[in-house]
Amino acid sequence: MDFPSWIANAPFKFGKVLIANRGEIACRIIRGCQEMGLATVAVFNDADADALHVELADESVHLEGDDLASTYLSANSIINACRKSRADALHPGYGFLSERADFAELVGASGIIWIGPPAKAIDSMGDKVKARRLMIDAGVPLVPGAELTSQDNLNATVDQLRSLSNEVGFPILLKASAGGGGKGMRAVETSGELEAAYLSAKREALSAFGDDTIYLERRIVSPRHIEIQILCDTHGGAIHLLERECSIQRRHQKVIEEAPSVAISPEMREQMGEAAINAAKAVHYVGAGTVEFLLSGDEFFFLEMNTRLQVEHPVTELVTGVDLVQEQLRIAAGHPLAISQDEVFPRGWAIEARIYSEDAANGFLPATGPLAIFRPPEGPGIRLDTGVRQGDEASLDFDPMLAKLIVHAPDRMRAIERMSRALEDFIILGVTTNIEFLRSVITHQKFASGDTTTDFIESIWSDGWNSGGDPAAAVVVAASAEKSGLHLGSLSGELGDSPDPYNPFSTLYRSYP
């Protein structure tokens, strides 16, 4: 096998990478590999046969099965796909199998290079209780909290929960040890709510992670979410790539992220960077990872470490000029880090907005439908990471994130203006999206002033958010269009009833009045 020159003399050589993922992140990784001369293999289930990531990859392997568990989440199917395609390395992306230590181990044991951290590091950080103990030893500041010693007897557990909560101090946050993404997490204001909250957190944790271990933390009121991107090589080298602020969240999921953060001074950045590197070193980390902190005033507390590439990694890439996927590939090949800490500094400002198919005016419920029109904005300083294109369908099979819109500008104010303009120009019709809501956030005076905390959305739109617009104009144009009958002659104009609405030739014989 011929290897690209950058890897020909590396300790761990590989030439073909299987991407065990789908959607925008699979596309992002495929492009990163292709730029470095590596062959790529996509995997797909029945629903994804025509998906963009399959089209972009050099080759693809079909995963048989009716559900996620037997396809994208099946370790054996993925390993078989590697064998079938003779892929000698695997990139897990985020989600799916990316933080499964047993999978990382299986990949290595199958003679395939795992583009990610060692299984042991994933395991240590994946168990939030274990991670807390490790961080205490590493001297990383933690949110005050406590572990339950036994969770077998309900009455005894609730008693212990009460006394520990009083020690830690209300308000309390109950969290799942195996948790993430807000699942198995409950905020508790008073002692009386503890039992019900504990039981529901436990149920949710069990169904989401198969592990119902719960621990408690003090709930830091109105914090900022600040995270540090780190890179560690196999030679003991470790650097951080500045912070990202991800305070703008709905239902505990990030929707807008930026780098750097208005709240972080150079001294603070140095302190948090050092804490993040210490956290990584405590688990002998290798690869790209993210250490998440809560910031309250000028105090920061370790939240968790994500042992994978993050959704919001592009803002760091734009601000530092470092391609994180390509660094992951170099590190997996056994190369030392190409850059040193003093070469990392912020260049301008980057903001990311996550475009979801969801109804912001109706509790952010996921929405489905065809992407009848999908027209992303263009122009200087705009990056779009997506796994869909016009004609695709937003279904309930997968995560409702359609795209990540990322802008880069010389300073924060200009990045906000750029994002506002880009969101205004982003047209998706056929499925309800959060684009207009994102613009409400980005153009809000509190966002402009940098007054961003994790309760931003719920405190500003406590009674819900409503779309604006000009109802009369929309109705008159729709009525005129209906009257014109243009949509009848053109299959691309009217979707839903026609057999092949996406046929590009269907407009060929259309007559115009």
Binding site: L429, A472, K483
Partner: protein, 169 residues
């Protein structure tokens, strides 16, 4: 008249549109019992069926539209509206008005149907000159012309019944 519901604010609309030389014009628009005067609005469509141009006075705005099922999706200045076509209203509103009414004051230029003649939905029945433009008045239903109340050259006022049609079952 056709009826529409704007999903964004749940508002209901009844709109009569005519095809003029310079584009489509909403000659009669009613929402929640209120009559709006939008006669200087013009809508035209570009070479792509998804591009609409809305002219209001000296303002020109570009919109992107697409129909999915019975819903028009309209993108306008960063806002997306969903406008449902309410089929049942299309006939009842017409029937209640007792016939096709004049959308604006003007002069009858031509009558293109006769009493007893079967007509199709969308067929041009008369041409009304108003605001120096020719406006085609089309049949909203399939039916038979039961009465014509004016002749060529007559001046009519807004809202007068011009022609009556008995809808075919």
């Amino acid at each position: 008249m056709k009826e529409f519901t704007n999903q964004t604010d749940g508002s209901n609309w009844a709109v009569g549109v005519i095809d003029t030389a310079s584009g489509y014009s909403a000659i009669q628009i009613e929402t929640e019992g209120e009559l709006l005067d939008l006669q200087d609005w013009r809508v035209s469509f570009g070479t792509s069926p998804n591009e609409a141009l809305l002219e209001r006075g000296d303002r020109e705005e570009r919109l992107v539209i697409v129909k999915v099922g019975d819903t028009w999706w309209v993108h306008h200045n960063g806002h997306t509206s969903k406008v449902d076509v309410v089929e049942r209203g299309a006939v009842s509103t017409f029937a209640n008005s007792g016939g096709l009414t004049s959308p604006m004051p003007g002069k009858i230029l031509s009558v293109m149907a006769s009493v007893g003649e079967p007509v199709d939905e969308g067929q041009t029945l008369l041409i009304l000159e108003a605001m120096k433009m020719e406006n085609r008045i089309c049949s909203p239903v399939n039916g038979v012309v039961s009465a014509i109340h004016y002749e060529v050259g007559d001046q009519v006022n807004q809202g007068e019944v011009l022609i009556a049609i008995e809808e075919s079952e």
